[in-house]
């Protein structure tokens, strides 16, 4: 009976902790590994590895979001980064931002120029939806013209398919 109450209490504590995990502190992420293990009750010490929930500052420090080949869709991980920036922009109304879209070298340059723009626009749309006005956002595309990785392989290409967030 007591164990139950204790567990419930722990659960509530964990939840509240995770909710305010990033708000005021600049400390790195709450390590929720233990929470995960306890809540599941396995307690064997192996296996369950959680994902570090990064603090907003860390997300803000990330100035690049990445994309899959020939796509301008934003996945969960990158969405979090964009949301952090959107929040920052919403909080600081005199700041302007440039979203610079890029593509990897495969395919034709002009099409990649358009693809880079599409990616930058995807980020712009997301940020606008979170309340940032158009006049503070600029989008540019460099297509494949400014890669950050020069090799001709998938690892390099993955790094080049990006939108840069420039203040």
């Amino acid at each position: 009976m007591y164990k139950k109450i204790l567990l419930t209490l722990l659960g509530i504590a964990a939840l509240s902790l995770s909710a305010c995990g990033g708000s005021e502190s600049t400390k790195p992420a709450v390590d929720d590994k233990s929470v995960g293990a306890d809540a599941a009750g396995t307690g064997t010490g192996t296996g369950v590895s959680g994902k570090a929930l990064e603090g907003k500052a860390d997300l803000l420090a990330k100035r690049r979001v990445y994309f899959a080949f020939d796509s301008s869709a934003v996945d969960e991980e990158n969405r979090a980064i964009i949301e952090a920036h959107a929040a920052y922009l919403a909080a600081n109304k005199n700041v302007k931002v440039v979203f610079e879209g890029h593509a990897d070298e495969r395919g034709t340059r002009e099409y990649n120029l358009a693809l880079g723009e599409r990616r930058a626009q995807a980020v712009e749309r997301m940020v606008k939806a979170l309340g940032v006005t158009k006049d503070r956002i600029k989008t540019v595309s460099y297509g494949e013209e400014k890669p950050v990785a020069m090799d001709h392989n998938e690892a390099a290409w993955a790094l080049n398919r990006r939108v840069e967030i420039i203040y």
């Binding site: 395919g107 034709t108 002009e110 099409y111 120029l113 693809l115």
Partner: protein, 440 residues
């Protein structure tokens, strides 16, 4: 007995005659197969004046490389030459029939004044045993290559009936390391990559150079303002203007065959669409209207159609429409990715980049039959464009870790790398026949 044999023969002859008359007056044999290959031509090393004055260029070698690169000729191996004439009177046609040459080129280069050379050549038809062409030039040492290219043009035209492209030029972009950064140049060189001349230098990327039909101007995309903007520059004296600097992308310039209009890609209305700008008044007409990416326009040689790249079907494919934007129809159906089309001079073919499974090749689409012919096996090809005679295609590819230019004959048989420049080379554009030479 002899009478019988004779009789038999007469009967036989009559029968045969009858058979022959039934068939036709004369025996006709149909020949339908041949050997696909270059015309066998023997190019004899040019004679010189004397050993102390060696010309700065090996004219015969330039001619041989030109003819080979076109894919239409097979220069014969000099090891097999029975004789090496340098003058008309030394030519023995039988010697060349032995090696099965169909044409013979002989010539000489001789110093006639300070820094001035006399170049002579003769072209012969071996089996008709007659001279087809013979010319003499006097040029400065630095124009010897130009003279060689001109000779190649004459030989090409005499033997194929089509104009040669060896005196044309190519424009392209180079990128070189400049400390931690890069520097970009727009250059114009000979059709074989020699003698490059820089017409623009920038710290920001350059893209998509396009020759005007009269060969005097280049339109291109420059990022010098930190975004893609379209410029036009006179090749001879370097004066340039900004043609399009709207919001979003300004790119993909394509000249109409009459030189009065430019098709281009603008995303000022939200997504990349194809527009046509009349150069006389800079007026704009929008041709496409589709939320997808529409870019890379190219004009048909008669100016009535524009082919372009669109991913309105999901992935980039080639479409074409009338020059007013109506009657859009899809043109490529094979492969996963087809982009960057450009028409051949006779309008029957498109060269484009065709991609499948992550590999992108220069390819040819025969418009009549819809046959797509992949021309290379290198996986990172870009920007293919036709030579003005439609017989060769120039494209950018990757070789030894850097960007280089290559040419491939339009039947795919002969491929050559152009002379390697420093740094990465990309975005080649072949000049039209009438081109201008920049004066530096």
């Amino acid at each position: 007995m002899k009478a019988v044999k004779h009789l038999t023969r007469i009967i036989l002859a009559a029968v045969l005659a009858g058979y022959a008359t039934l068939a036709s007056a004369i025996l006709t044999i149909e020949i339908t197969q041949g050997v696909d290959g270059g015309l066998p031509v023997a190019i004899v090393p040019f004679g010189g004046a004397g050993k102390e004055q060696r010309p700065p260029q090996d004219v015969a070698a330039v001619i041989e490389a030109d003819l080979a690169r076109s894919g239409r000729f097979t220069p014969l191996d000099k090891k097999d030459f029975v004789s090496r004439p340098v003058e008309d009177k030394q030519v023995v046609f039988k010697d060349w029939r032995i090696v099965k040459a169909e044409a013979l080129v002989i010539g000489g280069v001789k110093l006639v004044a300070q820094g001035r050379w006399q170049v002579e050549f003769r072209l012969y038809d071996i089996y008709k045993e007659k001279q087809l062409a013979g010319y003499s030039y006097v040029v400065a040492g630095d124009r010897l290559r130009a003279a060689a290219h001109q000779i190649s043009d004459i030989i090409y035209e005499k033997l194929t009936g089509e104009p040669g492209v060896f005196s044309t030029r190519v424009a392209y972009v180079t990128r070189e390391r400049d400390g931690k950064r890069f520097s970009y140049k727009l250059q114009i060189a000979d059709s074989d990559g020699y003698n490059p001349v820089t017409v623009l230098s920038s710290a920001e990327p350059l893209m998509s150079p396009a020759w005007s039909p009269d060969g005097t101007r280049l339109a291109y995309v420059s990022f010098e303002q930190r975004r893609p903007i379209l410029y036009m520059q006179n090749v001879v004296h370097g004066a340039r203007t900004r043609i399009a600097e709207f919001n979003g992308i300004n790119s993909a310039p394509a000249w109409s065959p009459d030189g009065t209009r430019l098709a281009l890609t603008l995303s000022r209305d939200g997504n990349p669409e194809i527009y046509v700008m009349r150069l006389s008044d800079n007026s704009l007409t929008r041709l496409t209207n589709d939320p997808s990416i529409d870019t890379e326009p190219t004009w048909s040689p008669d100016g009535k159609e524009i082919a372009f790249t669109s991913d309105r079907g999901g992935k980039p494919q080639i479409y074409r429409m009338r020059a007013d934007g109506s009657h859009v129809e899809r043109v490529t159906f094979e492969g996963e990715y087809n982009a960057r089309a450009s028409y051949s001079a006779d309008g029957t073919m498109l060269t484009l980049v065709s991609g499948a499974q992550g590999r992108y090749h220069a390819a040819l689409l025969h418009l009549q039959s819809s046959v797509l012919q992949v021309l290379t096996d290198t996986p990172l090809d870009e920007s293919p464009s036709f030579a003005p005679n439609g017989r060769m295609i120039l494209y950018a590819t990757e070789h030894g870790g850097r960007g280089v230019l290559a040419s491939v004959s339009s039947d795919g048989r002969v491929r050559q790398l152009l002379k390697l420049q420093e740094g990465d080379v990309r975005e080649p554009a072949w000049s039209p026949f009438n081109h201008s030479t920049p004066t530096n």
